[in-house]
Amino acid sequence: MATRTVMPFGPQHPVLPEPVHLDLVLEDERVVEAVPQVGFVHRGLEKLVEKRDYKHFVHVAERICGICSFGHSMGYSQAVERLMGIEVPERGQYLRVIWHELSRIHSHLLWLGLAADAMGFESLFMHTWRLREHVLDIFEKTAGGRVILSVCTPGGVFKDIENTELNAICGVLASLLEEYDQIANTFLMDDSVKNRLVGVGYLSKQDAINYGCVGPFGRASGIEMDVRMAGIDAYSKLYDFRPVVSTEGDCYARCKVRIEEVRQSIDIINEMVGRIPAGEVRVDVKGNPEEGSSAVMRVEQPRGEAFYYVRGNGTKFLDRFRVRTPTSANIPGMAGALAGCDLADVPNIILTIDPCISCTER
């Protein structure tokens, strides 16, 4: 019988952009068990809601994460809107979806680049991030910022985008798609990529359900769950939305799901631009949330379902703001996927859940 050893992995590791630690229980080179540990950079942003005006707090919520910043501002705003019974004008809802789907494209391109970098495929990494720059340019042109957009607020969005500009965005995405197809082809067909990902970090559908996995990580194991199917706000206007699902359950499947989701997001943006109504983009929010009122909201972030909870107390400060991020839900599943893998595959498997520790420790 092989001797068991415990190897610490992280919190500082070349493949990890953020600190997460794992105690890997090994039998020779095989991982028997992985015990995750987060909590190195807890920031206490949720506590700040007690001393920031609920309208201003959206800027704190947005700073929970630098990648899905728009999604967090949207999730917080929608939760407050549900708390106070506010209806956002349709054009504002459409613009939110457009910015949110652009965020998903840039997040997935960022992840694909990181995955290529982790595999040592530097040219693929650089090409992927070069494409991502086009999306950041769109952010800069429409919102003024490349990372923190500060356009979402309870009641709608601060800025409108002219229809001519929206059509120009579709043009940029069409040309991006041509180059993207070449990169996607490399990810899906290249032997050096396949050798690192196919059959690695397998998680069955039943295990994914038991662990409560969400987002591309869960969908790659066959779970047909995507909050966009719930049809919240302008997502209800989509003609037909079906989540991208794969049944292989390995690292390759997680890569494939994200690659298809980029194309899906471009389709959603094109549909939204084609049908966006004219009108206001924001309503004024007056008064404070009632004492004892509470609301929850779910948003499909690039990494999966994020869950928001807000509770009012009759003042301009909220009693409670809570975010359950997709990474929090996926860490137990990641530990499950690591059990039985080779030590050399651990970085790739961790990366394929697209962990965001900044979100998790908010």
Binding site: E46, Y211, M225, R298, F317, R320, S328, I331
Partner: protein, 134 residues
């Protein structure tokens, strides 16, 4: 829009209610604590039916001395949030399937979220420049 329910329940009924949601095939979304005044807390356990997008939130009122039973035996993912409730609010959750014993978060002060709100921070006045020497 899918239905969202808030259901008041008691600590004694919590595990049974979680088992009932598990039996119906609902997913455990999260649990969290909130301050409810001095030495009083509200726990919120959220479950989602992915087929209908219905959300059910079980609300339980507890005090700091109560022992909260873990739902980790029913939903393994719960250990993340139960350890968080312990570290951030100082609550006692018993029988967790993975207990970090207060080491889940590396915090400067214990149970920071259990502290009363301190009001809006006042901006610190800039120090006046020293008078120029004559």
């Amino acid at each position: 829009m899918a239905q969202v329910d808030f259901i008041e329940t008691t600590l004694g009924e919590l595990v049974g209610a979680a088992q009932a949601y598990k039996a119906k095939g609902w997913r455990f979304a999260q649990c969290c604590a909130s301050r409810n005044g001095d030495d009083a807390f509200e726990l919120l356990y959220s479950f989602v039916d992915d087929a209908t997008n219905e959300v059910a939130n079980l609300r339980v009122c507890v005090s700091s001395s109560d022992e909260i039973p873990s739902v980790g035996g029913i939903y393994p993912v719960a250990f993340m949030f139960e350890n968080e409730m312990h570290d951030l609010y100082g609550l006692t959750v018993v029988d967790m399937n993975l207990d970090y014993r207060g080491g889940f978060y590396h915090l400067h002060i214990p149970a920071p979220m259990a502290q009363a709100p301190q009001g809006k921070a006042k901006p610190v006045a800039a120090a006046k420049p020293a008078a120029a020497a004559e």
